[in-house]
């Protein structure tokens, strides 16, 4: 059960943190329709995060609900992959192209993961995956459409997409590294190493249509074998957590 709780945290934190990032676009998107679309995706991911964190808390059995897990853990206790936390814009950390490339990679990976998780031995995880899969497939298609438009758009958009790929790619290899928790949870969890060829296939197709070159992942070093799944994040993560949690932590005992 400790492993299952940890696994639900990994999945839940992936969704929570990317949702937080995407919501930063709210009122800042290139057009109104896209403002609505990105908010929708952020809402879907937030919904998935709430179910997964709730499940993590139930399995853990220590009385922590979704809010205790989201708001009262320290940065080192978050289990998301680093891809979900990096700053891809708006703002100086990236731009719309970077956001699209990250979303494309993330959702292609999640589709592969969730489609297998529908058969998880944990019935709650299986149900969450079944529901989430439809949403994620929409996110992936939305990102793919934009990737093609921008890759095969103007010179500037092509240049920005190329830079975006360079920015995002160092965090791709981590998605396919098997964590000890995943290795121990055969039947319940999915081994991410198995997802690689499916995801590569999807990305290859999109990159070709987008007239972009898919680089080979050059892994970003772990710290003594640890990365996002062990709470060893990038420096951007601490600021994201501080902003997200400050109000909740400022009013202990408050009811929302």
């Amino acid at each position: 059960p400790a492993d299952l709780a940890a696994y639900c945290l990994m999945l839940g934190d992936d969704a929570l943190v990317l949702s937080q990032r995407l919501a930063e676009w709210c009122s800042r998107a290139p057009e109104l329709e896209e403002d609505i679309a990105l908010a929708n995706i952020a809402l879907d991911l937030l919904g998935q995060a709430r179910l997964l964190l709730t499940r993590a808390g139930e399995v853990e059995g220590a009385g922590r609900d979704e809010d205790a897990l989201a708001y009262l853990r320290d940065e080192r206790e978050f289990r998301n992959v680093r891809l979900s936390e990096i700053d891809c814009g708006p703002g100086p950390g990236g731009d719309f192209a970077t956001t699209i490339v990250r979303l494309l990679v993330f959702s292609s990976w999640k589709v592969a993961q969730f489609s297998r998780l529908r058969g998880s031995a944990d019935p709650v995880v299986a149900a969450i995956a079944a529901k989430g899969l439809k949403e994620l497939a929409y996110h992936r298609d939305h990102a793919a459409q934009w990737a093609v438009r921008l890759g095969d758009g103007t010179e500037e958009s092509h240049r920005r997409m190329t830079a975006a790929v360079d920015r995002v790619w160092p965090f791709v290899d981590e998605l396919f590294r098997t964590h000890p928790v995943e290795a121990r949870l055969g039947g319940v969890a999915v081994d991410p190493a198995e997802l690689r060829s499916e995801v590569d296939g999807v990305l290859d197709a999109v990159f070709t249509a987008a007239t972009l070159t898919r680089p080979e992942p050059v892994p970003t070093a772990f710290v003594a074998g640890q990365a996002g799944r062990d709470g060893v994040h990038t420096e951007a993560m601490g600021f994201l957590v501080a902003e997200m949690q400050h109000l909740h932590r400022s009013l202990p005992g408050a009811v929302w």
């Binding site: 930063e24 009122s27 290139p30 109104l32 937030l46 708006p90 758009g153 902003e243």
Partner: protein, 313 residues
């Protein structure tokens, strides 16, 4: 001929029927409507900012989801309304340029800052409440697409208003610090929400023609009175007070008496010098400009794709 058309228009309006996009209408009616609907659309879009300000910091995941969905709805309202202006021949791109160049206005209320999470509740309750008071009569406005947009918008606004009030109710049942936070937010937003009905009728211009055209249906002071009468019992139920020593029931009038907002502050804000005017417009301009390359790329790609299709055909 034009006289015929004009007569038919007058008749349609006077009989409370709808003018539709293909119907003849006077130029002044068209221009006034475009300006009014565009300002309303701009207000929805600028209105995303004060609430969007708290999405990343919402104190529970449920409230984060509610808030994000609400701000998303505002973007949707903006879209319907811009679409309504397009039925009148306006161009959304041009209207956006006018907004980011500061040439068209939006509701002044959004030039106030959101300082605590209680503001999210108070904006739902008082600000959306005032907007609804202003907008419900517009569901019967003479221009069809506008009236239908308003019906949909009012429905969603009512939902937001209930959500805002529910947040405040929850907070009032919470800690002392939360109750103080609610009262503080009410203190800051009460006067600006009264200002949302516009200046006193004695100082308001252009009302008469708009009333005749049924694109404005009540005077500012009528609506303001209605709003105060409606809000007082809601405040009592919530357990907060309004920061107005003159506010009290007048049995004779069957209405509440109340004090006047600081109209100097109102005109200062309308004149572009509110606490957040520059920030709001700069934010929108930046989003618009930062997105230019994306819109251009989408157009370029669409052109390429359609050229390829033509070539294949």
């Amino acid at each position: 001929m034009v006289d015929d058309l004009a007569a038919r228009f007058e008749h349609t309006v006077a009989s409370e029927a709808r003018i539709e996009p293909r119907d003849w209408m006077p130029d002044g009616y068209r221009r006034t409507l475009i300006r009014q609907i565009a300002q309303h659309a701009h207000s929805e879009i600028i209105g995303m900012q004060p609430e969007g300000n708290w999405i990343s910091r919402a104190p529970s995941l449920r409230r984060k989801a509610i808030l994000l969905a609400k701000v998303q709805d505002e973007a949707g309202h903006g879209l319907y309304l811009y679409a309504a202006t397009e039925t009148l021949g306006a161009d959304r791109g041009e209207l956006t340029e006018k907004l980011v160049d500061g040439k068209q206005k939006y509701s002044s209320i959004f030039n106030y800052p959101t300082l605590t999470f209680a503001d999210m509740g108070v904006i739902g309750w008082l600000v959306d409440g005032a907007a609804i008071c202003n907008q419900v009569p517009l569901c019967r406005t003479s221009y069809g697409p506008y009236a239908r947009a308003m019906i949909r918008i009012c429905k969603e606004e009512s939902f937001h208003q209930r959500q805002g009030y529910e947040l405040l109710m929850t907070m009032m049942r919470g800690t002392l610090a939360q109750r103080d936070m609610v009262q503080d937010a009410v203190n800051r937003w009460w006067w600006p929400s009264l200002m949302m009905f516009g200046p006193p009728d004695s100082e308001s211009s252009n009302t008469e023609q708009s009333m005749a055209w049924r694109i404005k249906r009540n005077t500012n002071d009528e609506l303001r009175q209605k709003y105060v009468d409606m809000s007082v019992p809601q405040a009592a139920k919530l357990g907060v007070t309004f920061p107005d020593p003159l506010l009290k029931w007048n049995a004779e009038r069957g209405h509440h008496d109340f004090g006047q907002p600081d109209w100097d502050e109102f005109w200062q804000v309308v004149g572009g010098h509110g606490p957040c005017n520059s920030q709001r417009v700069a934010h929108r301009r930046k989003a618009h400009e930062d997105g230019a390359w994306v819109r251009e790329a989408a157009e370029a790609h669409a052109a390429k794709a359609s050229a390829r299709q033509d070539g294949a055909a």
